[in-house]
Symmetry: C2
Subunit: 348 residues, 2 copies
Amino acid sequence: MESPVFRLCSSISYSKTFLHPISTINSPKLYSIQRRKKLFYSARSDSIPVCSEGGVFLSIGTHLIPHPNKVEKGGEDAFFISSCKGGIIAVADGVSGWAERDVNPALFSRELMAHASNLVEDEEVQYDPRTLIKKAHAATSSVGSATAIVAMLERTGPLKIANVGDCGLRVVRKGQIVFSTSPQEHYFDCPYQLSSEAVGQTYLDATVTTVELLEGDTVVMGSDGLFDNVFDSEIISIVGSYNNIADAAKALANLAYDHSQDSSFDSPYSQEARTRGFDVPWWKKILGMKLTGGKLDDITVIVGQLGSTCSKGVGKLYKKTLMLKLVNGNYAKMLSMCTFRTVVVSCI
Amino acid sequence: MESPVFRLCSSISYSKTFLHPISTINSPKLYSIQRRKKLFYSARSDSIPVCSEGGVFLSIGTHLIPHPNKVEKGGEDAFFISSCKGGIIAVADGVSGWAERDVNPALFSRELMAHASNLVEDEEVQYDPRTLIKKAHAATSSVGSATAIVAMLERTGPLKIANVGDCGLRVVRKGQIVFSTSPQEHYFDCPYQLSSEAVGQTYLDATVTTVELLEGDTVVMGSDGLFDNVFDSEIISIVGSYNNIADAAKALANLAYDHSQDSSFDSPYSQEARTRGFDVPWWKKILGMKLTGGKLDDITVIVGQLGSTCSKGVGKLYKKTLMLKLVNGNYAKMLSMCTFRTVVVSCI
């Protein structure tokens, strides 16, 4: 049984050249958000007791590897985690096509996650992930678009998920995947996306599902950079191989990264591409060749393991909303803290 | 928009030799169950109003094709549907291995579904599919085991699903699958199963999920005979090709049947087998051969389409619990009624 604390285990992997503060990103809206609330590994000053009775919670490990060509800017994925109630995890993946219009695709996903992080305790949200997406999307004013997934755990076990696009979530139980989200897309490689433009999708397009978690379950959430490069069987294998969830998150991200750079790997992405009719020219097929290879992309992995608190004599868990994202000068702070592989952030 | 009635569209396919009453199955328990409640397309005499306000409901079509070698006994799948609240659909698949112990594998699945059908309004069940499985399993005294899936729709939209084993369910929305159950198994071709023996699984092993349905969604539930032989892309294609859900159910079952008998078809089953390490001998691989073919099995398909009632002036929907299963002399009755392809059963 898990010890009765909320644990956060986080690690972020970059090339060596990235281990420096970045302050070149112009994002005044995010600055203002950060001023309102400390987002980086900091408890809010108004922390209040959430739960003195027993219940389940997620211990969380994270790992993010930016696209190799986007390391300098930190990639276009953003995510946040929160210990509100049983725990909240969320990922947004900025749609890279915006770069062709001279828009930084990272701004929308980062602002979306920043707002979502701020809104988890909003009265109207009522701990409903679809409503959280609705309100965060409405609050986001950056130009761009992003896929997004939010999962909120009740202390009694239900994990409620809202998903727009091709981020994903798996639940691993006793060595098998018992729950998977399904990606939504307009056509191959064009996912449903929350957008600054009217033509995009909204919270109404989110697929909303609930899965009853059991103690010991492992939740794996990620951007498509994970699921396009790593098979479910590999996720099961890695989850089963690591006791430390931060190590599991890192191993999954590293495996996705390795596969993404392997042109001979017959990845989930290349298999899906062939299924959709994309393949090598006919004369290469005659020679026995086929379309293979992983998909270069930002890779975000969040691994959560379900534990439970004893009903009494444990001490209180306190609400703490944490934000891990890749903006402005706060990189250095985040990275330096991440040298602690396992960080206990809210064990009271 | 759907017309405001609960519609049942059912068709059952057998070889010609099967169009006769079967009275050779020894199942006194089922007889006693049938005496208590009319299960075959009959409204209960104590029908009471369920819902006078608006809400969603499932229009349902079904199709069942027994394993070619089990046609005389009707196969080992059983299922039921009910118009309670938004609608209930359920499938059980008797585990064929019991035949080696001189046990008819169909008895357990049929009795399980019969009890489940009787218990949908049980006070303790509280419209919860896992509890329904619990109580139906506890009431089943036949020797044997079965996989089982139960899905219960609330009038407000949530479809709650409990699943033990490798029956399955898909939700098709706007031409894509937005929700899939995941099969549970001990190892390849050995699914989790509710059993008369202590070594089997119970309701506690059920994966419990909820998906928020939207009007126009199509739900496809089936035994593994469907999902082992038909790809999700084919399910999407067929669901999109038929306006009549009974025709869609029949087309899916027929496609599964055709694939199951095609030794060259690279089915979901053969692909999964190869993934698990089952394949042709090495010398055949050198010759470019691989394990292919569908899987001969009982095939049960239930297709439900979500509609909604107007809030007022529609008339009342009445509770009617229906049972379609393959036992005793009631075959003929069921089959004769099934000559009506579309049967309006509870439009008041």
